[in-house]
């Protein structure tokens, strides 16, 4: 556990920024595992490039979180020296890759949510967060092209590919509800104009998703009661294993720098 003693002026904002950063980092780690294993070299490049963008976004957000905390923690400290119970990523980002179809479903859902969220964050009253969002949103738009293009191809493809992405969509959908289950901290940040309204983000997400699912000949699953709260550090069993990989080099060689 990190020993933070100094009071943080804006703990809510720092926590919110860490949630965004952790989701980007954890998803980047998952996508990177496709390198050398993708169905084709173009998909190796696609997953690697999206992972690289996510890593870049995570770095900007961690640097900001460190400044907000004011305790001297760096990007590396946040990524390598925190435990599972400190990570605040959305649970879906940590779920295993499954087959390529499942990775694409996970990516498309997360891309559409992040696009809607970051487009609105460009209007945040927090100037730094708005600037980071303006930079990230250009990259996320490009990610949506990739993941939604693949989702349509697989959904409207062969019987086998359709069946696989339909199953993945049913498996992953329960993890969507966490994004739109607003907590008191998010509500307070929305009232300050720092974070967009969770309800508005949900409407935007559904509006973007509907035509993609239609083209992919897929049906939106029905909502179930949410069970996971990665954003409150209540994770699935998968995050610990992911972090063991992600942090292994730094734990074997403390303070290692590239």
């Amino acid at each position: 556990m990190s020993a933070v003693t100094a009071p943080v002026a804006d703990r809510a904002l720092m926590t919110y920024v860490l949630r965004l950063a952790d989701t980007a980092l954890v998803l980047a780690q998952r996508l990177s595992a496709w390198i050398g294993h993708s169905p084709a070299i173009e998909e190796d490049l696609g997953c690697a490039n999206i992972a690289l963008d996510l890593l870049g976004q995570a770095r900007l957000l961690y640097a900001y979180a460190g400044e907000l905390e004011g305790a001297g923690r760096t990007e590396d400290d946040f990524a390598y020296l925190r435990e599972e119970c400190d990570f605040l990523n959305a649970t879906m980002a940590e779920l295993p890759n499954g087959d390529f179809g499942q990775t694409i479903v996970r990516q498309c859902l997360l891309d559409l949510w992040r696009l809607e969220l970051f487009e609105r964050l460009t209007q945040s009253t927090d100037v730094r967060l708005a600037q980071i969002a303006a930079k990230a949103v250009k990259e996320i738009r490009y990610h949506v092209r990739y993941s939604s293009g693949w989702l349509v191809r697989l959904g409207d493809g062969t019987d086998e590919s359709h069946q696989r992405v339909a199953k993945a969509l049913t498996t992953l959908w329960p993890y969507v509800t966490e994004w739109f289950a607003e907590d008191a901290m998010e509500q307070a940040l929305t009232e300050r104009g720092v974070a967009p309204s969770v309800a508005a983000v949900q409407v935007g997400f559904e509006t973007r998703l509907a035509p993609i699912l239609r083209d992919a000949t897929l049906t939106r699953p029905v909502d179930v009661d949410y069970r996971w709260f990665g954003k409150r550090a209540q994770h699935s069993e998968h995050l610990g294993h992911l972090l063991a990989d992600l942090q292994s080099l730094h734990r074997a060689h403390p303070g290692a720098q590239w």
Binding site: E42, L45, G46, A48, N49, I50, L52, D53, L54, L55, G56, Q57, R59, L60, R128, Q131, I132, A134, K135, A136, K138, E139, R141, Y142, R145, Y146, G149
Partner: protein, 165 residues
């Protein structure tokens, strides 16, 4: 850019214009549009650089190349990041676009007219070798974060294209 520039600032700009991009050396950093601020106080120079993509591994190299070039020219250089406004491939200079084409990379092209741009229309890139517009996308992502891979249906050659962001 049309404002009068002091002689000492011009000398600094001359140094900066000669620093090549580490991954596409035919392009200078000036051509790429990543140099956003330059202030000169005697021999002290402060340069603001904006990354093309947040995760682009070349960003660190670009910053150290700029600092080194200025130090070799006898300046004390400080290089920092500029986050806002975010870089756009529309900032690549016209000369830079020509250099890219000659190098075999299709430069970014944006739809003409606001309506087309608002509708998110895309310009089909012209083959940098034979100029044919009969080209197709092979991969949304290429060998660096800033490029996509296309193919010319006329001359059959694959080519890189600068992504339009």
């Amino acid at each position: 850019m049309t404002a009068a520039v002091s002689p000492e600032a011009s000398a600094v700009w001359a140094v900066l214009r000669a620093v090549p991009d580490p991954e596409i050396p035919v392009l200078s950093l000036w051509d790429l549009g990543v140099i956003r601020e330059v202030s000169v106080q005697g021999r002290d120079v402060v340069v603001g650089i904006t990354p093309t993509y947040t995760g682009c591994p070349a960003t660190a190299v670009i910053k150290s190349d700029v600092a080194e070039a200025l130090q070799q020219a006898g300046y004390m250089a400080q290089v920092h990041d500029v986050l806002s406004p975010p870089w756009s491939s529309a900032w690549i200079t016209p000369e830079g676009c020509e250099k890219l084409r000659a190098y075999g990379i299709a430069p970014p092209e944006f739809p003409v007219g606001r309506v087309a741009a608002l509708l998110g229309e895309e310009v089909t890139p012209a083959c940098p070798r034979c100029a044919s517009r009969q080209t197709e996308l092979l991969s949304e992502f290429g060998s660096t974060p800033c490029k996509a891979l296309h193919r010319c249906c006329a001359c059959q050659e694959p080519f890189d294209r600068f992504k339009c962001i």
